[in-house]
């Protein structure tokens, strides 16, 4: 329920809003000029795509309490749908392709969300694996999806928005950033609306939600639809802005788990948590492997380092869950509160619940 309280506070100028604006200014005004191609291409673009995917899953799992293990299937649907829009409807502008891809992903998501009407918990979670395996199979099996490429691989077109081409690392970053910012704002708005409250009611107590008049069927399917819409768009970014050549095998179960990790570690039912978690999952492995190579690279071969890194990441995941079950974001919040508390001690105004 902290989210509701926080959203109430955030009307008006709050430290949170100031921070957000400052971050946006930095993301648009600073990063494109100082970030190297490596930082933009290998860190920030995948970070943005994964953060958006995690946000999508968070709507479903964190807010509405419906667990899905099939996220990367919807990434794939988004990517392949956008590709096909682009190939088959050439007059369609890229932006429209992106939205259309999101809609296709939403439709597929609703279909695979149907079991949620009867199943819950792990039964539902495992049933979403059907989406995972079915989508991968279909994309590999039917050549139509990849425009009959013999290997099922699709090449992304250049990113063109209203006549401008964003083919450099900076361009792709800026496009991703814009898409993610817009999608995030829309998601935040939705969560503040009645629909968002319905999601939370559904998660907290399904029967009680029904009693107070939440339309269960519609809310559940809506959760699947909206969530898959966002994940589908993230898939477009993943395929078009980040990898630029994708094959169905890339959208495997490990990716689904990764996205689930992001929201659990970042903080379920938190928009900021999705971003924090994504940063953690994208940057930490690279940081560890760079650090390992720099410190111990002469002593151990890359295989040993990689295995040790895997162990460290696994241990960190378990460790964070033990130490902070509500995710990194609550750690950050507590830290921020403490700082703010110290700064504003003379005033009698505790801003956070």
């Amino acid at each position: 329920m902290t989210t509701l309280a926080r959203s109430a506070v955030s009307r008006g100028i709050t430290p949170g809003r100031v921070g957000l604006v400052a971050m946006l200014i930095a993301a648009y005004g600073l990063v494109p000029f100082v970030g190297s191609d490596y930082v933009l291409d290998a860190l920030l673009t995948p970070f943005l795509a994964l953060a958006l995917a995690a946000l999508g899953l968070n709507l479903l799992t964190g807010y509405a309490g419906l667990v899905s293990l099939g996220s990367s299937a919807f990434l794939a649907v988004g990517a392949y749908a956008a590709f096909n829009c682009n190939v088959r409807l050439q007059e369609l502008p890229l932006l429209a392709s992106i939205v259309a891809a999101g809609l296709v992903a939403a439709a597929v998501g609703i279909v695979f969300g149907l079991p949620s009407l009867r199943l819950r918990g792990f039964y539902l979670a495992v049933s979403t694996l059907a989406a995972q395996f079915f989508v991968q199979w279909a994309l590999t099996k039917f050549g139509w999806f990849s425009n009959n490429n013999p290997s099922g691989v699709i090449d992304a077109p250049a990113l063109t928005l209203s006549g401008l081409t964003f083919s450099s690392a900076v361009g792709r970053y800026v496009v991703s950033l814009t898409v993610v910012v817009v999608a995030t704002l829309l998601a935040a708005r939705l969560l503040r609306s009645q629909v968002g409250r319905n999601f939370i009611a559904l998660r907290d107590h399904e029967i009680a939600a029904k009693v107070i008049g939440v339309p269960l069927l519609r809310t559940k399917l809506l959760a699947f639809g909206v969530s898959s819409f966002l994940i589908g768009i993230a898939g477009v970014l993943w395929a078009f802005a980040y990898l630029r050549t994708v094959e169905p095998a890339g959208f495997n179960l490990d990716r689904s788990f990764e996205i689930l990790f992001i929201i659990i570690i970042g903080g379920p039912a938190s928009i900021r948590g999705a971003f924090l978690g994504a940063a953690f999952m994208v940057v930490l492995p690279l940081l560890l492997s760079r650090l390992g190579a720099a410190l111990l690279g002469d002593v151990f071969d890359s295989g040993v380092l990689e295995m040790s890194q895997r162990i460290v990441i696994g241990a960190l995941i378990a460790g964070i869950l033990i130490a902070e079950p509500r995710g990194l974001i609550s750690l950050v919040d507590r830290l921020a509160d403490r700082i703010r508390h110290r700064l504003s001690r003379p005033l009698r105004n505790p801003t956070q619940p």
Partner: protein
């Protein structure tokens, strides 16, 4: 070959494969039943057991001694996991626990490969896999052996849970954790016993699957075969795991042979999930469902 004979052959092959799925599923059920944890690290544990065993044998350790040593290692691992990871997470949501076991599987896989290397090993249990023929139907000796082993394992557990104090405590905890605590059962001992049992199952499943696939990283992927079984049979029912395994195994093979060609084949990967799902939608209480809470 007669069409009916072929059908029987597919069916028998499927049932025997199903036993192998059940074997993995039982490991999940044991832990889920007592602690409500869907232990995804079961696959990693299976890999760890097989890799430890095969590495010991390759270093000249005698067969039975290696089995004993691996069992000790697996029990130690199980108990350590329970102590270090799951106990601090008591009372967290099932999803949090699930994620923790996912993290754990990273750790176990990493340690296994760090200790024993990434080489692919063959594993020979000394059972000839030359098939024999019954009325024109080929039957695999190895699969029969695997089925017998699984049967013995389940029978062993059944006796254990019925006739020992720990076993009774186990059933009490499975029925109602709080009531069990209230009457003074020591949960830690029960959980240690459960993880020991799960470690044993991991070892047996690891050896049998290892003999079929070779001992290598992909071994941990066999959990994906167990998940639809769990869905069909229920996460908390040993009997469900067995019957579910047989059903999934048989239906999966029959579907691939008779329905697969309509789609150009290769449907096995998702057919099992669709079957389990359809069944649950028609009969939400599952095969042996007594608890309806989770399935509404």
């Amino acid at each position: 070959m007669f069409e009916f004979q072929f059908f029987v052959e597919v069916l028998v092959g499927g049932l025997l494969s199903g036993v192998m799925y059940s074997l993995v599923a039982i490991g999940f059920v044991l832990i889920y039943k007592t602690s409500g944890v869907l232990n995804f690290a079961q696959g990693a544990m299976l890999l760890f057991a097989a890799l430890t065993f095969v590495s010991l044998v390759e270093r000249g350790v005698p067969f039975w001694f290696a089995i004993g040593a691996t069992l000790v290692v697996m029990v130690a691992l199980g108990v350590a996991v329970e102590r270090v990871v799951l106990r601090p997470l008591v009372n967290q949501s099932p999803m949090t626990l699930f994620m923790a076991t996912l993290g754990l599987s990273y750790v176990i896989e990493g340690v296994a490969q760090l200790l024993w290397g990434t080489q692919v090993h063959g594993l020979d249990l000394g059972i000839d896999d030359v098939p024999f023929e019954v009325g024109g139907v080929l039957i695999s000796q190895f699969d029969l052996f695997a089925a017998a082993t699984a049967g013995a394992l389940v029978a062993g557990f059944a006796l254990f849970f019925r006739h020992t104090r720990t076993g009774l405590a186990f059933r009490a905890v499975a029925d109602d954790q709080f009531a069990a605590l209230a009457v003074g059962l020591r949960l830690s001992r029960v959980w240690a016993a459960v993880w020991t049992a799960a470690g044993t199952v991991a070892l047996v499943a690891g050896l049998l699957w290892g003999a079929r696939l070779g001992v290598q990283y992909s071994l941990s992927l066999v959990v994906l075969k167990a998940l639809p079984v769990l869905m069909l049979g229920g996460f908390d029912s040993v009997a469900g795991a067995i019957v579910g395994g047989l059903l999934i195994g048989a239906i999966e093979k029959l579907a691939e042979i008779y329905v697969g060609p309509l789609f150009g084949g290769g449907i096995e990967a998702w057919a099992a999930y669709v079957v389990a799902l359809t069944f649950l939608l028609l009969r939400p209480s599952g095969l042996f469902g007594h608890k309806l809470v989770e399935r509404v």
